[in-house]
């Protein structure tokens, strides 16, 4: 691994709270989310020379974390085909998460499709522009717009609210 600059390390540390929020929005479960953050840091450090001088770190890291999440989701889908559902349903009790109240909006996010969840996480929770979100996901801005519109509609339905 090439040497990592101290400045980059410090920037990643500063970004950790936001990376954790983004991961929580994608993964739902706090420990899965922190595992995603861990994978994202490892990957970022391993290919830090790909980060262009002066390029915003946040967008780059969000992209790495988002790709890690996609990889995990694919791996999970493979496991689903191999194991019986009951085995997957078993979860070790997590004393931390047991105390945390799950808000309706968090439950609703977990029930969204991956496509809708990622775009809502990037734009509405992390505050990225449509352009930045489009670059991270690798789609056109128009696709971001339409996914956002459908994702919002789905969220509002899940939350039992009137449609705009």
């Amino acid at each position: 691994m090439p040497p990592i600059s101290e400045a980059l390390s410090a920037e990643i540390v500063e970004l950790l709270p936001r990376l954790r929020r983004f991961a929580r929005a994608l993964a739902g479960n706090p420990s899965d989310a922190d595992d995603l953050v861990q994978i994202a840091i490892e990957r970022a450090l391993a290919k830090s020379q790909q980060l262009r001088e002066g390029a915003p770190l946040a967008g780059w890291m969000f992209g790495i974390l988002r790709n890690a999440w996609i990889d995990e989701a694919r791996a999970r889908a493979r496991r689903h085909r191999v194991f019986a559902p009951e085995e997957l349903g078993e979860q070790v009790a997590d004393p931390h998460s047991a105390r945390v109240e799950i808000l309706p909006v968090q439950q609703a996010m977990e029930r969204l499709s991956d496509e809708h969840r990622e775009v809502i996480s990037l734009v509405l929770i992390e505050g990225l522009s449509y352009r930045e979100a489009a670059d991270i996901i690798g789609v056109a801005v128009g696709t971001v717009t339409s996914r956002l519109a459908r994702g919002r509609e789905a969220l509002q339905t899940l939350l039992g609210e009137e449609q705009p």
């Binding site: 410090a10 709270p17 954790r20 929020r21 909006v105 968090q106 509002q156 705009p164």
Partner: protein, 246 residues
């Protein structure tokens, strides 16, 4: 005027150019139906932020901080605002064993302490920085669960340190914005860590994170025994004057 859902959504997300934005604003001012649809989008956005923003206030797990720091966990001379807790693990985290770090705390603390009146939030006493004024009042009396958003001092988490003292993180918006950690010792609340808040990021992202600086979170992780206090524990600690049951 009839706006598509995508246009109203883009308006709420700050994505419209000037002229379309003005059209939506005019319509929202006169057409209750447009106003209602815009308000519904705003309400959903607020709900999402309320659901996930609390993650920003959680302490970041130490393993993630260490991983990101890689080989840079050791503090170096010149990294003045880095609290050197990790570089001196053999000594108490409350001890100011590094001259550089003392200077860093001191320079900022002096900024607060040097005002020639009785309301300075930090004063010096026997070589330590002690909370006074509004900061002391907030540390003594203000519960995290019950504080005005506009208060000069915002309390973060409260916890018991490994030494058994009560410690609390705070954010101070005085003549400078700073975040820190103070612990209740026999002489009062001594300020252990104090760092400048980074100015809110502008432009690149519309919503700036409101997290405690990593330096403060790091100091919390290094000193905390068990879990942070919940609101009931916090109220009980306040009732005891933040003095531990011995």
């Amino acid at each position: 005027m009839n706006f598509s859902e995508e246009t109203l959504m883009a308006y709420v997300d700050g994505e419209l150019d000037g002229s379309t934005r003005e059209q939506v604003e005019r319509a929202a001012a006169t057409d209750p139906e447009v106003a209602r649809r815009v308000a519904a989008h705003h309400a959903l956005n607020r709900k999402l932020r309320a659901g996930f923003d609390p993650v920003l206030e959680e302490p970041v797990p130490a393993r993630l901080v260490s991983l990101a720091r890689g080989a840079h966990g050791e503090s170096k001379p010149g990294a003045l605002l880095q609290f050197p807790v990790r570089s001196v693990p053999q000594r108490s985290w409350v001890q100011w064993s590094s001259l550089a770090a003392s200077f860093a705390l001191g320079a900022l603390a002096w900024h607060f302490a040097s005002r020639l009146n009785s309301v300075a939030p930090i004063t010096t006493s026997r070589g330590e920085f002690v909370a006074s004024g509004a900061l002391e009042q907030a540390l003594n009396g203000q519960l995290a669960a019950d504080q005005a958003p506009a208060a000069v001092v915002q309390m973060g988490v409260s916890f018991r340190s490994r030494q058994g003292d009560y410690c609390r993180t705070f954010r101070l918006r005085d003549t400078a914005a700073a975040s820190g950690l103070a612990c209740r010792e026999s002489s009062g609340w001594t300020v252990q860590v104090l760092v400048h808040d980074a100015p809110a990021a502008q432009g690149e992202y519309r919503q700036a994170a409101s997290a405690m600086p990593a330096t403060v979170l790091h100091a919390v992780e290094d000193s905390i025994a068990g879990e942070p206090l919940d609101s009931a524990d916090e109220a009980a600690a306040r009732a005891r004057g933040w003095l531990p049951k011995r």
